[in-house]
């Protein structure tokens, strides 16, 4: 399954909390929750970029898992 690049703004919408789909996979929920906590501490552009890369990397590494694919569809349709 194709995982869009980190530059796709829909990643940063998730990371910044602008969009919050109802994710189903536990690791995605924990990761997004943890990223939200990290961004609450440091809202710099550099940290937003780092967190966006972290979330994208998770999906890239797990793109063959059906529940992760479902969550990816919730971001990108």
């Amino acid at each position: 399954m194709n995982v869009p690049p980190a530059s796709d703004p829909r990643w940063s919408d998730i990371v910044s909390g602008k969009e919050m789909p109802d994710f189903g996979f536990l690791a995605v929920r924990i990761l997004v929750g943890t990223i939200g906590r990290k961004l609450a501490k440091d809202q710099s552009g550099a940290n937003l970029e780092k967190c966006t890369r972290e979330l994208r990397e998770f999906f890239a590494q797990n793109a063959d898992l059906p529940p992760v694919q479902e969550d990816l569809k919730k971001i990108f349709g």
């Binding site: 994710f23 929920r29 924990i30 997004v32 929750g33």
Partner: protein, 332 residues
């Protein structure tokens, strides 16, 4: 789930047959085991098919299936534990056991979400402990079958590689949910807190707990994007020493005190996902659930050790954790 509690002699036979085992039991039992493909941790409390039980005579055994391609046992310490996620196989999972109150436990609890590769691959496990009669003098231990070696400091991890058609999936069953009360936030991360922010206003947390008559058997609950993550209270003099917790509270999260649970055993059953029973490879539940929900003699469908902390990617409290293996050829 079939037989889960074994005598030392029976476990010795399983090890001699080359079985790959995840073990939980009393220290004196685990010390009798020969070298082999196993890891273990100390605890005498278990959920079994017959219900919750305390045993210093039997070992709880979770056996890895024969289709597992490779296992590798690694010992970490406080300095090397940050590598635990990046060491997990690309296609598989890792099982970790850490002794309660060790430096590695404290470091992992506070810092795991900042480790490289956090949550990218499945990491499941538990915090080892001891009989509660031994509070104050008991020592939690972990064991590596490669040796064998017993450790009071560090962490033992079994990294497991699966065939391409199988994937590991970690689930949690949390009978608690956020109550309707105040928002509770913290200014810093830590296992204790004196000051807190109640709906944004700075307060002494111990005074707040006393004033609101909060039941400390119920955890604080944070909402991680839909996953409810608990932090449990320890007993102590809250006002003078600060409120102590069994896992860290984190700044940047909004907590609420949990709603009371009327029927904990029924709630476990209601939250149990359908049709996963046969797929579950490993599970554990919290000693606080065992105690506060009075699980001794009661059945909760999923069996496993009752532990001093649960790990599903990160440290959890008062939560049942399970690892199941899904066959992708059936899922697709």
């Amino acid at each position: 789930m079939g037989q889960v509690m074994y005598s030392v002699e029976e476990v010795k036979q399983l090890i001699a047959q080359g079985r790959k085992l995840l073990l939980a039991g009393d220290e004196k039992l685990l010390r009798q085991l020969p070298p082999g493909d196993w890891i273990g941790g100390t605890i005498p409390y278990f959920m079994t098919d017959e219900g919750g039980t305390c045993s210093r005579e039997k070992i709880y055994v979770s056996e890895l299936p024969s289709y597992v391609l490779k296992t590798e046992i690694t010992i970490y310490d406080e300095e090397t534990i940050p590598k635990v996620y990046s060491d997990t196989p690309d296609h598989g999972f890792s099982v970790i056991i850490i002794p309660a109150k060790s430096n590695t436990h404290l470091s992992f609890a506070l810092n795991a979400p900042n480790y490289e590769g956090f949550a990218i691959h499945p990491l499941v496990g538990w915090i080892s402990g001891f009989h509660l009669d031994d509070l104050g003098r008991g020592k939690a231990m972990v064991f590596s079958g490669a040796g064998p070696e017993a450790l009071a400091e560090g962490a033992v991890v079994m990294h497991v590689t699966l065939p391409r058609n199988k994937v590991a999936d970690i689930g949690i069953i949390n009978i608690f949910e956020q109550g309707e009360g105040d928002n509770i936030t913290f200014g810093s991360d830590g296992f204790s807190a004196k000051a807190t922010y109640i709906n944004g206003r700075k307060r002494n947390l111990g005074e707040y707990i006393s004033e609101k008559h909060l039941d400390k058997r119920l955890p604080l609950v944070a909402d991680y994007c839909g996953a409810m993550i608990n932090t449990s209270f320890q007993e102590g003099d809250d006002r003078e020493e600060g409120v102590r917790f069994y896992a860290p509270v984190f700044s940047g999260l909004r907590y609420r005190h949990a709603k009371p649970v009327e029927d904990p055993v029924g709630r476990f059953a209601a939250l149990m996902p359908a049709d996963v029973g046969d797929q579950i490879l490993f599970s554990c539940n919290c000693i606080l659930n065992y105690l506060y929900c009075e699980l001794e003699g009661k059945q909760t469908e999923i069996t496993g050790p009752a532990t001093f902390g649960e790990i599903a990617y990160q440290l959890l409290n008062q939560t049942m954790v399970y690892l199941r293996i899904v066959d992708l050829s059936f899922e697709r």
